[in-house]
Symmetry: C2
Subunit: 482 residues, 2 copies
């Protein structure tokens, strides 16, 4: 990149949506494809974060007995139509291939918006007996949903994700799987992304098209809106019946299998940005940062450049031995340019080493949240850096959790509810709901607020619906959302 003044990042307070796009641009995470409507290019820094996410989740999927496989991108159009709710949910968003190899196709193919149908078809071929169950499959893939309003990472025509698809002999086992995978998502969100989440179940009108029940994790972004960060669905026997996936049980009787599906996508990168970043750019948790530490050499006038290079390389080696991803930035740019760039890219820790530091046997250190430089002794630097990054990871999580606590309220009257959500405002609101689809729809229509989930930890607490005044057994989570 030419050494030029980088573009500025719009402050959050001025224009939150603009800020989000500015952070993405300045960190080099992605850019709109423009020539392909609603799609984006994931640039190297963004893709490197996705690789970190993939590696961590994939390890957990495999530890819990899942195997990866790959199914066709194209799905016969008729497959989508076999499950009534599924077709209703996905039809409007399909991209359709009508010509291939120079010929018009007799039956068009759709580009997978999700793979329940095509995988259901193969489960039908692979599963005969209870001995074939559970079948635990995961796929890392691209999917396509033609959306009208797109926003990078959060909602794009094409996106990358993983989709788990499993089949079980009993409903109880399927439900156990749905919960297990939701827990893995929640632990990943909190442990790796440093992003606190609410676990819960979706209402009927918000659940996956074709599921009995959808479980989800919901996170609060910095504008206090909710972002659905992962879902895990109990599909019941709906797809088993649509694709004739039967097995012989131990008693010799033929039954339909019970299926689940669960997924997270590159949307998580959007969630990371909006959970931690600030007006200076991206902020990344060390566990997912492609670069954890940037070492910047200072070649002062008359200083011993060779000695600085040698010291920098030695530090790089020491930190790498700690398993950290490190860049020793010897590019031909001024230090200030490098500081600025690493800051915008969200590198958790910057170390500087110059002739004075060599004399004093120290390094200068500044972490991405810190306001002032510190000086750390050169001895045992590797271990010290590692400890510091662990604390940084915790600090990010605590900060996000405090922010969420400060912006979560219990509301019991409709006028208070409307006040909280006035204009573009949002919060996490715990309020009573009468359980009806009609009330949910009215609330959404009047305020753009949806029920994000019925939290698992919402205690039994009889009350009255915030909108209809009808009885309610417990509070649910309302918010505006992405």
């Amino acid at each position: 990149m030419a050494e030029q003044a980088p573009d500025k990042i719009t402050p959050r307070a001025e224009d939150y949506s603009r800020w989000y796009l500015d952070v993405i641009r300045q960190a080099g995470l992605a850019e709109p494809a423009e020539v392909v409507k609603g799609c984006m290019v994931i640039k190297p820094h963004g893709y490197a974060i996705w690789e970190k996410i993939q590696r961590a989740l994939d390890d957990r999927f495999k530890e819990t007995g899942h195997q990866n496989a790959y199914f066709p991108l194209l799905i016969p159009e008729s497959f989508i139509k076999r499950e009534a709710e599924h077709v209703e949910g996905f039809s409007p968003e399909l991209a359709v291939v009508t010509i291939a190899g120079g010929q018009k196709l007799e039956e068009p193919y759709v580009i997978r918006p999700t793979s329940e149908t095509i995988i259901g078809h193969f489960f039908g071929r692979w599963i005969q007996s209870w001995r074939d169950l559970p079948m635990l499959i995961n796929q890392w893939a691209n999917v396509m949903r033609w959306e009208l309003r797109t926003r990078m990472f959060l909602r794009t025509g094409e996106f990358l994700w993983q989709e788990g698809h499993t089949a079980h002999a009993t409903h109880a086992e399927a439900v156990e799987e749905v919960k297990r995978m939701l827990d893995i998502y929640a632990e990943f969100a909190e442990g790796h992304m440093a992003m606190p989440v609410v676990r819960g179940v979706k209402t009927d009108s918000e659940k996956f098209a074709g599921a009995l029940q959808s479980f989800c994790i919901e996170a609060m972004m910095q504008d206090n809106k909710a972002l659905q960060a992962g879902t895990s669905h109990d599909l019941g026997q709906n797809f088993g019946k649509a694709f004739d996936v039967k097995f012989q049980n131990k008693a010799g009787l033929t039954e339909y299998v019970w299926q689940t599906s669960w997924g997270v996508s590159t949307r998580l990168i959007g969630a990371l940005i909006m959970t931690h970043s600030d007006d200076n750019g991206l902020v990344l948790p060390p566990k997912l940062a492609p670069v954890s530490v940037a070492i910047v050499p200072i070649f002062g006038k008359g200083g011993d450049e060779a000695a600085v290079r040698e010291a920098g390389a030695a530090i790089e080696k020491e930190l790498k031995a700690q398993g950290l991803s490190v860049v020793f930035d010897v590019r031909d740019h001024k230090p200030g340019f490098k500081y600025f760039e690493w800051e915008q890219k969200g590198v958790p820790l910057r170390l500087e080493i110059g002739p004075k530091d060599l004399e004093k046997n120290q390094v200068a250190a500044k972490d991405r949240l810190g306001t002032a430089k510190e000086f750390w002794p050169r001895a045992n630097l590797g271990a010290h850096v590692k400890e510091h990054l662990d604390r940084f990871q915790t600090q990010l999580f605590d900060r996000a959790k405090e922010r969420r606590a400060a912006n979560t309220v219990k509301i019991d009257s409709w006028s208070d509810f409307k006040d909280v959500f006035a204009g573009d405002n949002s919060k996490f609101v715990l309020a009573h709901w009468d359980g009806s689809r009609e009330t949910e729809a009215k609330i959404k229509e009047e305020t753009k607020v949806t029920i994000r989930c019925i939290p698992f930890d919402s205690p039994d607490e009889p009350g009255k619906c915030v909108h209809s005044g009808k009885p309610s057994p417990r509070r649910v989570l309302f918010s505006k959302s992405y």
Copy 2:
């Protein structure tokens, strides 16, 4: 899976094509999708091999300074048409999206058959100055080429691959990159796949549509046909000009960039199968085997089952500590069933442990190429297994190299040439060629034989073309091919 007699594998000598498909089925690598023409499902064991391939190659790409990114699946149809040779090469194989989100598209999109065009477009946006060069990008993705004749892994409508795309300031640097990546492919093929390859350059009629020159690695399969296992292209300024990718050089002048692209695909799994496997099923090199060692417990009548389980678990742990991927197969099947299954799946080494082995402080061992069981002492088993697998890897490579040497011949007369390739026969034939496209076409028409490459190590050796009798400066490599 129900405990039933598995289907048999057709011997190679009886029907080589059938053998190939039988190995794939019995090893659980893939199956034809059928409902999606020419496409396949990559099943868990096949996908696990692909993951091993990905990990090893990706590490090498990153070591050599490349970064991963992700570009849109869909490409505006007009993009494909901008480079004259490119459109001619790929047009017949395109899958076209004409409807999206319920609307007919004004300009259709094609599903990427390869991404030179769309990536060229973005390089045009990202590259301004010599400081932006070299730009070294790689993408792991699915691509689609609507083929008439398909064969699993070797040629399918959709396949998975990686495509490297780089831009450079000079032609010399681009050519250096093209060679560097070909060398990485060749080292991977020989070092990891245990598959010897010939490195060389394609003739003009066999090169990539839009390239100045294509370098390739060619491997000999067990039917003595060639399989192109990887290609690396010098694109010159062809795509730079088509997509207006210019930069300001150090002298302040504007030039077009010099580009390269290079790729390998899931085809490598087909190459693995046809290089090493036998009439009993898959044979895998340890470096790419998802499971290197299968430990099978023998619970003899009256034996101490708990002690056998404990010993098996201890061995599993010891081998895992050596970095080996191990399965301790405690499934409720008879040992013979397990032996058979692991053999068909190509597991390099099987260990058995039963009450008698416990008494004697030993394990029974049989590797995938071995004819008889050996008994190895329990002490230091981990180190011993690791050494054995290293030798096994070398053994596979040597065996393949010997087979290739035995089936590579120099031919100087047209009648000998026709004899070698009579019927469905093939070999690697080193023969003289007059360098003309016409002669190449005639040879292909008369014998179905193509010039696989002009090997880099083909010495200067003036001679006469095997077909036309015209002068030739050196021998080239002829073979039938996949």
